[in-house]
Structure formats: C-alpha cells, structure tokens
Symmetry: C2
Subunit: 169 residues, 2 copies
DNA sequence: GCAATATACTAGGACATCCAACCGTTTGGA
DNA sequence: TCCAAACGGTTGGATGTCCTAGTATATTGC
C-alpha cells in the first residue's frame, strides 16, 4: 500500500500531542495508535496466507474454534461469545462457510431457539491445513522476540481482563 | 456485546495449540490474537466517545492529521501515506467529511492530478473538541501502566519498522 | 516533441463489523 | 395455567477496508 515513510508517523503524532500541551496523554495515545497499526499489519499478513484456502480471518477463526470443540459443533451464541464478536457477524460467517460446505447448521436437540454449527469433514481438513500454514508463515515468524511475546501476553491480558473480557486468572 | 467469560479464551486457545503439538508457536499466536482483541476493545471505546460528535475513528484521524498540518491542508495521497490506509479509504472518509462541511476539496495549484483536503473552521473546531474528549476519556484512562506504555511503544515500534512502515530511528 | 510510463484520484464490488428491529421459543412469576 | 419478559438468531442498513479497473494529468526517455 506504499513504501516506507522516512519517519515514524506515530512518533510524530506523539510529538504533536506534546507540542500542543497534551504531554500527559501523549504516550498512551502513541501506544494505542501503535496497537491499531500493528493489528492492521497482522491482519494483512494473515489474510494473505489464508487467501489461497479461500478463507478470511473471520471464517478461519470460526473453523478453528469448531475444530477444538470435542464434538466439532457449537451453538451460534457460544461461538459469538468465545470469538467475542457480534452475533450477526457469526451469522454472516456461517452463511458463507455453509455455502462453501465447510460447516452445516443443525437444530439444537432440546432448545428450539438454538442453532448448532457443525464442522464438515472438508471443513476439518481445511482448518488443519490453514492452521499449518499460519503457524509456519505468521506465528512462527511473528517478528516478536520471546521476551516481547511474554510482555505482550501479560500486558494485554491484564488489559482485556480489566476491560471485562473474562474474570479468571 | 456480552458478559465476561469465566475463562480467558485466548489462554484457552494457547493451551489448545500446545495440546496439538504446536507449542513452538503457541505463545506468538496468543500474543497476536491478544493484539487483535485489544484493538477491537480500543476501537469500541474510541467510537463511543466520538459518536456524540458525529465522527467515526477513521474520520477523526483524518481531521486530526489535517489539524497538525501547518496550512490545515494536505494532498489526498499524503494523507493516505501518513494514515497508512488505502487511497480509496481516504476518498471515502473525505466524501463524508465534505458532506458534513468539515473539510473541502480544492485543486492543487501546480499539479492537476492532485486534490488538496482542507479543514474548514468547523472542522478545526470539531477536531479540537473531539481530541479533548478522547484525551480525557480514552488516552488518559488507557488502563496501561506507564511501564506498559513504554514497553508497547518500544515493542510495536520495532515491529512496525521491521514490517516496512518507516525507516528512521 | 511525442509516445510510453508513472502518478493521483475515483467508481464499483467483495467482506466484515456493528446496531436496531423483528420473529419464534423458552422461562418464570402471578 | 398463562402471559410477559428474556433469549437466540436473522434481516436490513450504515461504515470502513481493501482490490481491480478506469480516467486524467505529469514525467521520462528516445
């Protein structure tokens, strides 16, 4: 999307904040902006790896989640909660995965409101292949040192807990 | 979008990775997933603060960028490069900001291909008010400790440089 | 000087995300 | 028992992001 800039635009923004008398919040602003940009870079890498499999990140996450469920099936609302996305986003992803024959919808045996999402065997196979690719091409070459990974997990874990994502640990 | 989960879903995913024999990349996977989720939480907070101003994050970023330009004007392509988003995303944002009378498009004096985006006085005022709100309600209460902020800036700065965002420092 | 190439922006399309509203199903209290 | 409230999912709409292609203007090279 472009060549490298001569200067770090986020460091520049931080300097602008300080120059305008907002020095007290300039550093957190820079950290937050850096998280945004890093996420953008990571999504682009991940989507690049998944494209040959005909998957997007959202659909991959759903497949991976199902592949870890004992039965290979989960209620929609459970998937929504675990992936921490809006229920309508799950509806959307399931629609497309179902069209691709990677999952099927089935009624819940006892609760008439609930729909179960179930992995097909093609879905399970594709999930495994995509995970192997991601492990090799993204997670295995994250660009973060071991210490940095530990720092990130700790710092962001605290943040997510404080934000109300979960209650344990 | 939901109540807190009893357990950290990302820590669970990391355990699943280890259980499947991918222990060598489980930690980076968890760190990357945590960045994704953190970004999502932060965007939601920011959009919540900006909504009363009739702004989205994308539009705010453009206004803020313009407000730091000496003349209050920038070429579209410059804005695209500094915000590190696709040119069509800038076109989209400018369309809406222009409709809201917060910016205006004007032709470049010497290069007929280039369009300048210029802040109106309403745009400048709104940008200032929105920034004040974000500083108070988001950046000033980020939930990151001072040390964490420094860690994040350093770790993510390295990452972004290695990813080709910029060349200096 | 003119053709070939590069640059700047926009139009249209595919996806994803969220919100608001709606429709069945289930649950719980009067 | 029965109806209101809660729950689970989908539909429709607004935004944003990217990609591909197309138009117009600049720049380069022969």
């Amino acid at each position: 999307m472009g060549n490298p800039l001569p200067r770090d635009p986020i460091a520049d923004a931080q300097r602008n904040w300080e120059r305008h008398g907002w020095g007290d919040v300039a550093a957190p602003m820079a950290a937050i902006t850096a998280i945004m940009r890093t996420q953008q870079i990571l999504v682009a890498r991940i989507e690049g790896v998944l494209k040959p499999f005909g998957l997007t990140f959202a659909r991959y996450e759903l497949l991976a989640l199902l592949s870890f469920a004992r039965s290979g099936a989960l209620p929609m609302n459970k998937a929504s909660a675990l992936l921490q996305v809006h229920p309508t986003s799950v509806t959307n992803a399931v629609d497309r995965l179902e069209k691709a024959a990677l999952v099927v919808r089935s009624p819940h045996p006892t609760d008439g409101r609930t729909t179960l999402i179930e992995l097909t065997s093609e879905g399970r196979t594709l999930s495994k292949r995509a995970t192997t690719a991601l492990n090799a091409e993204v997670f295995g070459q994250s660009g973060f040192g071991d210490d940095d990974v530990e720092h990130l997990i700790r710092i962001l874990g605290s943040f997510r807990r404080d934000a109300g994502d979960f209650t344990d640990a």
